[in-house]
């Protein structure tokens, strides 16, 4: 064995290997719990937690709170207990604390029988101010944008709501989340029938970031093509519609897209 000192055998490495294995085992056991939660098996995750002894206490506390949120039947009392635990975890500004603050916001946004959007928005704002670069804070800003666009009482009126979300955009720097926010913003403009040109620009910016897959990618490609067609930007419309055709051969909209391309060739079509 070249590179190994004489008189040294593999058995000398055993204590070192043991040191490497022990923490990995501790992680593995909690990893099993997270795997079960990722697979929507909260009952099994709760059982796994009872046999896990060697996990980081904050990570473990987060897992316990997540199990509380995920298990059925869900009650507001159990959610209140989960919120209390999450707030305790949020006292520290680490990633576990960030995840806890985010999830506390989500409880009020989606999980309680009566949502409180203002409280949810408060959690997301606090997280973004405290740990702006955390992935949880960045995702929280996207959720804050959704609330601002549609359900928070202030700002009132579609234009003001969209302006408020435009102001959030520079703070969302993680590319996939920025892309999602651009799509949400573009679609909100279409929903409120405001500034279709800027909606198109939002979707084009989202497409430039890339990374979408499946139907979401197909929808954005087609939307850009169609909005360009409506705006008379035939060159770009053709580019996106042809891309859609190439990538989505089995989509039932292919026939309609073919008619669009034909209409552009003559510019007489009305559909």
């Amino acid at each position: 064995m070249q590179g190994v000192p004489r008189g040294f055998s593999l058995t000398h490495f055993f204590p070192l290997l043991l040191l490497l294995v022990l923490p990995a085992r501790a992680n593995d056991s909690l990893a099993g719990t997270w795997q079960l939660l990722a697979g929507n098996l909260p009952g099994e995750a709760a059982a796994a937690l009872t046999t896990t002894t060697s996990a980081d206490p904050r990570e473990r506390a987060l897992a316990e709170a997540v199990v509380l949120v995920a298990r059925q039947p869900l009650t507001d009392a159990r959610l209140l207990e989960a919120e209390r635990r999450l707030n305790a975890l949020a006292a520290e500004s680490d990633e576990v604390g960030a995840a806890a603050l985010y999830l506390a916001g989500r409880l009020h946004q989606l999980h309680f029988s009566t949502p409180d959007y203002a409280v949810a928005a408060g959690y997301f704002r606090r997280l973004a101010e405290r740990q702006p670069a955390s992935p949880w804070a960045q995702l929280g800003l996207v959720k804050l944008a959704l609330l601002t666009l549609h359900v928070l009482p202030e700002p009132a009126g579609p234009a003001a709501r969209i302006a408020a979300v435009e102001a959030l955009l520079p703070r969302v720097t993680r590319p996939p989340l920025r892309r999602d926010l651009l799509i949400v913003l573009g679609r909100a403009r279409l929903f409120h029938n405001l500034e279709p040109d800027r909606a198109r620009a939002n979707l084009l910016a989202a497409d430039a970031i890339g990374g979408l897959t499946g139907l979401a990618a197909a929808d954005v490609t087609l939307q850009i093509g169609e909005l360009c067609f409506r705006a008379g930007d035939d060159a770009r419309a053709r580019e996106y519609l042809q891309r859609f055709m190439a990538e989505n051969e089995a989509d039932p909209r292919v026939f309609t897209v073919q008619q669009r391309l034909r209409a552009m060739a003559t510019r007489k079509g009305t559909l």
Partner: protein, 532 residues
């Protein structure tokens, strides 16, 4: 101890013969194999009509030959109790290993997220059961006619695939060909109606035939469901111009919520002249069915057709096997006639043909995330969606296979068709349970001899806003139920580190895009809520 030669060798010989005999028995008689050596899985579905159970049974028999260590049991559950059966068994942990599910099942939108496991990674690999076929190196997902487009549309998590499909279905007119020949005689000019106007002319000839025969013959067999399928398709085909108007987002497709939101935002109503003209055509079609058809079930329509009291029955290709096997006359399969620009009633706003064929595949089976034998279940999923099994399923069920490269029997060719029309969705007759109730309960006012379009519209318009709001609320609640479990899934995936980072990112995107729809729905519900 040394055995005496004769006794010892005889004993050994007896033992060897017994051993070989037992081994022969075990290998040649499946029933003799101890139960613990066989993995039993169950596949549950509601397609209990003629065809699919036979098709699946043939697939299971062949699979047993290939994998004697896995036994597949087919569980047939009647459609009317399927939702309750499914929910109860999933909650109780007694669900089958593979389960048919459809996103159209009311109030079940949270089921895939909670109880089914995605199979996306496997879908990107070739299906080993396609070895030796042209699909050998094709990723599993691309071995389906539609590349599993419909499943992507319905997935609870964008980018994730949860299911495999077995068949393709379309709506068609099934014709008593013998009666059609009697009606049209030897008219060399006759060709099967392609336009609505030609269909009207055939209806007139059918009435004349009935008078000649001195008995009642209807153009269309009538029943509530068959009428709903036909009417919804025809409304969609006639109102393609409204479909285009409602496509606010430029997706060239409207979902049910787009019809609900469009109505609540006053972008369409039953008072529009074009919608009223289309309702006039529905009145014409209703008059081609027996009076009181709204009270009748699918079986009644089939019976009416089978006994020669109706020339056509409008139904899905899922009924093809029953009709062809049981009818005492030759049954033809035809596409629905559609209005054209020359149509006297609806031609003025005609845009083009509606798609009556789709590459979309259906009869989707999902993997139970709590199933005890997932590996075996996935193996059977692979086999049942292989080219060999697709052919077996089609040959024994009479249903069109979802799998590429399968050979379509000539009799089913018109059932398949080509996607040569606009496909933009539809929801004029029903966008949920409440709108369906209002429309159908008042249908007699449209179809009855004393009724008409004006009476019908005057009856349903006051009720529709409330019904559409109720349907949109129901959809929002269902979406909320589907979104909730994703939060714990997202936290878990992010805590699992880089290995799950991609899936976590896709889940976050999927959830955000779905939530934007949810809040749009809530905003519309708020702005359209009745003022006190």
């Amino acid at each position: 101890m040394k055995l005496p030669f004769t006794r010892g060798w005889i004993a050994l010989l007896v033992l060897a013969v017994a051993y070989l005999g037992s081994a022969w028995w075990l290998f040649t008689r499946g029933g003799g194999t101890p139960d613990r050596a066989v993995t039993k899985i169950r596949i549950a579905h509601w397609q209990i009509e003629y065809g699919p159970p036979d098709g699946l049974a043939a697939v299971i028999r062949r699979y047993r030959e290939l994998r004697p260590d896995i036994e597949v049991e087919q569980v047939l559950v009647p459609g009317r109790i399927y939702r309750q059966w499914l929910r109860t068994n999933l909650v109780g942990g007694t669900g089958a290993d593979l389960i048919e599910y459809g996103s159209f099942l009311p109030g079940m939108r949270d089921v895939p997220t909670r109880y089914f496991e995605p199979i996306t990674a496997l879908m990107n690999e070739p299906n080993p059961y396609n070895r030796g076929t042209p699909l050998e190196h094709v990723p599993w997902r691309n071995t389906f006619h539609d590349g599993l487009f419909t499943e992507q549309l319905d997935t609870p998590e964008i980018g994730q695939l949860y299911s495999v499909t077995l068949c393709q279905v379309n709506m068609r007119l099934f014709c008593n060909e013998q009666m059609l020949r009697e009606i049209t005689g030897d008219d060399p000019a006759f060709k099967f109606p392609v336009t609505l106007e030609e269909f009207r002319r055939l209806a007139v000839r059918t009435q004349a035939y009935a008078r000649r025969q001195g008995r009642t013959v209807y153009m269309l067999a009538g029943a509530k469901l068959n009428a709903e399928w036909l009417f919804e398709f025809m409304l969609t085909a006639m109102l393609m111009n409204v479909n285009v108007e409602l496509d606010r987002d430029g997706q060239l497709m409207n979902y049910l919520r787009d019809y609900q939101i469009g109505y609540l935002r006053n972008r369409w109503s039953y008072r529009r002249p074009d919608v009223q003209a289309a309702l006039g055509v529905i009145r014409e079609l209703a008059a081609m069915m027996r009076p009181g058809f709204v009270q009748l079930e699918r079986d009644d329509a089939v019976r009416e057709f089978m006994t020669g009291q109706a020339l056509f029955v409008a139904t899905g290709t899922w009924d093809a096997t029953s009709l062809i096997r049981l009818a005492p006359f030759p049954v033809g399969i035809h596409r629905f006639p559609q209005p054209d620009a020359a149509d006297p009633a609806v031609g003025s706003f005609h845009i083009g043909r509606a798609a009556d064929s789709t590459r979309g595949t259906s009869m989707a089976f999902y993997l139970n995330n709590a199933g005890p034998h997932k590996e075996a279940a996935i193996d059977f999923m692979r086999f049942m969606s292989s080219q060999e099994a697709g052919q077996l399923f089609m040959d024994h069920s009479g249903w069109i296979s979802a799998i590429r490269g399968t050979r379509l029997p000539p009799v089913l060719a018109p059932a398949k068709g080509d996607p040569d029309g606009y496909s933009m969705g539809g929801g004029y007759m029903k966008s949920g349970a409440d709108t369906a109730r209002v429309f159908t309960q008042s249908l007699y006012r449209l179809a009855g001899p004393q009724g008409g379009v004006a009476q019908f519209v005057a009856t349903i318009e006051p009720e529709m806003p409330g019904a559409i709001r109720a349907d949109l609320q129901f959809e929002s609640r269902s979406l909320l139920e589907a979104l909730r479990p994703q939060d714990s899934g997202l936290v878990a995936r992010r805590r699992l580190g880089p290995a799950e980072a991609g899936r976590a990112e896709a889940l976050a995107t999927s959830q955000t895009l779905a939530e934007s729809q949810l809040y749009e729905d809530l905003a519309v519900l708020a702005e359209s809520s009745p003022r006190p």
